[in-house]
């Protein structure tokens, strides 16, 4: 299923916010590559810039205060970041679908599920209302909503959180997108619902074959699904590798730390979860040194003077770290 042609090539995105308290350097030069049909997991602690990176791609951030300073995002031979709003609208919801973190607030409370679900189809596929409605019912069935025909005229408040997230998935997939960006789609849900949503995504990925960017805090979730994983810290990707390689052979001290906090492979939890000491980095200054250095056990002189770039090592492994034991 995995091909080698890339569908999205992101180059050096820098996004910052201008706020009253000064600038927030949320994304500091992120580059990655998404292959056709691939599932790329993006992991990192809260505030590491995962959402901002992905929303920058489709300019879904409030601007101002957000400002995309530089970067390229090549999709289908065009740079998303250079498109005007009209061109970008054709991509949003049409070729790239988006699912957000909080299903409770992501749907419009005063419009019916039907209306919200057929919007992208009318926008991108030029469907008339009755065709769109028929497809909407199919989509709801596809994401496992029982009695879709009767429930389609309901309002969001009639649905539970898990059901709403299924609706969001249906909306994102309505136009058969080539890429699905899922921004922590299960974080706000409880564990059993979370598992159901994961199953749905795994199934739909097989059926529809789109590429997926899956954002999460949870290395455990990604391990079971992703082809490749990127680890973010302080607005940078610090390590990126195929999933097995990353878990068996983590090279960045931050990734190593994260993996130690996971329950161990045999399903037994480590006696006490080892968490990484220290505070997340301040984003008020442009990073000139490694932003993980203050919390890192391997810090060297160089780490405080230069910010390491993300460089390739063996086995498709990329790391941004001065420390290299080999």
């Amino acid at each position: 299923m995995l091909s080698q042609t890339s569908i999205l090539k992101v180059e050096n995105i820098v996004t910052r916010f201008r706020t009253q308290e000064g600038q927030v350097h949320a994304v500091n030069g992120i580059s990655f590559d998404l292959k056709k049909g691939e599932l790329l997991g993006v992991v990192g602690e809260s505030g590491s810039g995962k959402s901002v990176t992905m929303m920058s791609l489709l300019k879904l951030l409030p601007m101002p205060p957000a400002e995309i300073v530089s970067g390229e995002a090549n999709f289908d031979g065009h740079d998303l970041l250079k498109m005007d709003l009209e061109e970008l609208r054709k991509i949003r919801g049409g070729k790239i679908g988006f699912i957000f973190q909080d299903p409770m607030t992501s749907l419009n409370p005063v419009l019916t599920i039907e209306y919200q679900l057929i919007e992208p189809m009318r926008e991108h596929l030029g469907m008339n209302r009755s065709d769109a409605r028929r497809r909407a019912i199919e989509l709801l069935e596809m994401v496992g909503i029982p009695e879709a025909k009767n429930r389609i005229n309901d309002f969001p408040h009639h649905f539970s959180g898990g059901m709403r997230q299924r609706v969001m998935i249906a909306i994102a997939l309505a136009c058969n997108p080539q890429i699905l960006i899922a921004d922590e789609p299960t974080t706000a849900l409880d564990v059993t619902i979370q598992a159901q949503i994961l199953e749905i995504i795994k199934r739909l990925r097989k059926e529809l074959g789109m590429a997926i960017i899956w954002i999460t805090h949870d290395l455990g979730v990604v391990a079971g699904m992703a082809d490749r994983v990127a680890v973010m810290y302080g607005g940078n990707i610090v390590e990126e590798a195929p999933v097995f390689e990353l878990y068996s052979n983590p090279k960045h001290p931050y990734t190593q730390g994260l993996l130690k906090t996971l329950p161990n492979m045999k399903g037994k939890r480590a006696e006490r979860l080892e968490s990484i000491n220290g505070q997340p980095p301040s984003l008020h200054q442009k990073p000139v040194s490694c932003s993980f250095a203050p919390r890192c056990s391997k810090t060297m002189e160089r780490c405080r003077q230069e910010n390491p770039a993300l460089l390739s090592r063996e086995n498709n492994h990329k790391v941004a770290c001065w420390w290299n034991p080999n």
Binding site: R92, H124, H157
Partner: protein, 332 residues
């Protein structure tokens, strides 16, 4: 429905409170008569007004007159349906003019409705688009100018803007008449023009006042919604900014605004007391002032109570409208 039933005792209590307060006030309908009128005559007048009766009898009388006799009269006059004998029924009479209070009110209503009602309507029509644009283009020059004007319009009282308008447009420029001529009947094109001319100033002064308040509220309501997650979802579907704003955001922002508008409708009938005074529009507001000055208790009582009914009624209507606009709310 249950709320509707609850409204009836509420109104009864209100009517009694109004009655009691007015009764307790040291008022003597003969107080304005010349000193030469002898006490026996004064006493006779008081008896003829029914003031020798104890309070609960007078209150009962008033209730019957207000809730039974007057509605039956209106039925008779407006639709020709007669129930009982109209001449037998006693009516609420004004102490000052001795004519039925309801007739006075009916006489005054059109002026008030035209001037104050139109200004309310124009106020809404101006305020909503302005509110939308200033919210969407927050801090743009349009928003800044709008903020300034509405601050002025809202904080400067209408008697001041009214006076300024009169001085500029009537006294200096002589564009519009200074005094509103209520006897003017619109039967020719020329009279129509005159009517429009004399309405322009009071209507715009009030409309400006209403619009400055409402446009701020509209703006705030849009801003509350503009940063919510569902707006981002709508954009992520590829919706145009126009659809995002006018369908997704507006549908939500209008809920409190429409409720506020419904709640404000009773003030059309009562509110413009000061403006009516300044422009000499003899509407309901002016009627109330005259009634209070002349200690015309039946008129004050009836007017005040009618306002109370309107307020209760539009509270109910606002609730219903809220329920229609917001699907999350359902009444059983």
């Amino acid at each position: 429905m249950r709320r509707l039933l609850l409204a009836i005792p509420t109104l009864l209590v209100i009517s009694f409170i109004i009655f009691a307060i007015l009764d307790l006030a040291p008022n003597d309908p003969t107080g304005n008569l010349p000193m030469t009128v002898p006490p026996e005559v004064r006493e006779k007048i008081r008896v003829s007004l029914g003031l020798d009766q104890p309070m609960h009898v007078r209150f009962g009388m008033w209730l019957i007159q207000f809730f039974v006799n007057e509605p039956l009269n209106i039925l008779h006059e407006a639709f020709g349906i007669s129930i009982g004998d109209a001449t037998e029924r006693t009516r609420i009479l004004s102490w000052a003019t001795r004519s039925p209070v309801i007739d006075l009110i009916i006489q005054r209503t059109p002026q008030t409705l035209w001037v104050v009602g139109l200004s309310y309507l124009f106020g809404i029509l101006i305020a909503i688009p302005i509110g939308i644009v200033s919210a969407y283009k927050q801090y743009s020059w349009f928003d800044q100018v709008g903020t300034f004007i509405s601050m002025v319009g809202f904080s400067v009282p209408t008697f001041f803007t009214g006076m300024v308008a009169i001085i500029i447009f009537s006294v200096q420029l002589k564009w519009f008449p200074m005094i509103y001529d209520t006897t003017l009947s619109v039967d020719s094109w020329q009279n129509f023009v005159t009517q429009v001319k004399q309405m322009i100033m009071p209507v715009s002064v009030l409309a400006l006042y209403n619009a400055s308040q409402l446009s701020r509220f509209m703006r705030a309501s849009i801003l509350d919604n503009l940063n919510l997650d569902y707006v981002r979802t709508a954009r992520a579907k590829g919706r145009s900014e126009r659809v995002v704003l006018l369908i997704h955001v507006l549908r939500n922002s209008l809920i409190p605004v429409v409720t506020l508008i419904a709640l404000g409708i009773p003030t059309i009938f009562s509110g413009a007391i000061i403006t009516e005074q300044i422009f000499r529009v003899n509407g309901l507001g002016q009627l109330l002032i005259i009634a209070i000055e002349g200690a015309d208790i039946p008129l004050v009582q009836t007017l005040t109570f009618l306002f109370a009914i309107l307020i209760v009624l539009f509270n109910l209507i606002a609730d219903v409208v809220y329920g229609i606009l917001d699907p999350r709310i359902r009444y059983d």
